[in-house]
Subunit: 155 residues, 2 copies
């Protein structure tokens, strides 16, 4: 099994897409993450759902979750307001340049290794170009569930 | 919004459950993770889908995914065989004692902070006991999608 066998259509968003709308798309479609593309539709990053939480929860609360107790209910309801007016590029983790992307002929173990190393629930699949193209076009994406389904022996 | 408003029934597995069957359950239900309970049905850990990959992909391949190229297709198809005959306790990460669990009266920001800090796509919800019970019973679980849906302002 190769990446092109597993790749399927997947929602993409731009670096300048509205972060709040993107969070809604993640929630509505119940996706583990989204693929972020540049203006040429080349994949440049994965935005996992967990990153939205890391963006909206203040850093000192993440460092010490017991501090969350000081927040009132009303304040919590406005957590997502910090996404309003922000672009996807503002919400991405600082090390987003390490894009989990595989070429179309990548093997299952290559995909699994990359997903495990990148702690990413989804990887982008791009056309194989023999390593010549800097920016090959995207042909789809593979979620961790897609991969597990395919790797598991028949019961 | 409190944890008990968001908690819903969620598949649980035991520490001694068969790892291969558990991987199948994750894939079939397209879940981001499973709650692991002890023999008294108290939640003791979360097993995220990504942990299955970390277990089946050899460590040196995770450290350097380019080494995955040396694996033939046939070998890749047998990756999941390493799960056969293993129990869930064998597959859990070494630091699994840090269970993402919240009490029923936890606020949305507490849940978000814990999920972000634990990098967990799901948290277990247990009865509130004023901190007196060492092992309160579980009333359900909350996924990251459930939480985002509830936190996002109406469009």
């Amino acid at each position: 099994v190769r990446a092109h066998d597993l790749a399927r259509e997947f929602p993409i968003v731009g670096l300048d897409s509205d972060a709040l709308q993107v969070a809604r798309l993640l929630a509505e479609r119940r996706l583990p993450g989204l693929i972020v593309v540049d203006s040429d539709q080349h994949p440049v990053a994965v935005l996992p759902a967990s990153q939205i939480l890391r963006f909206i929860v203040p850093g000192y609360v993440q460092d010490d979750p017991t501090l969350a107790r000081v927040y009132g209910e009303k304040h919590a309801d406005r957590l997502c307001e910090s996404l309003a007016g922000r672009a996807v590029r503002d919400v991405l983790p600082k090390d987003w340049q390490r894009l989990p992307v595989v070429e179309a002929d990548a093997t299952a173990i290559e995909i699994a290794a990359l997903m495990a190393a990148a702690h990413s629930p989804v990887v982008a699949v791009v056309e194989s170009k023999g390593g010549k193209s800097q920016n090959p076009p995207m042909i789809g994406a593979i979620t961790i569930t897609d991969l597990l389904e395919r790797l598991l022996p028949a019961s």
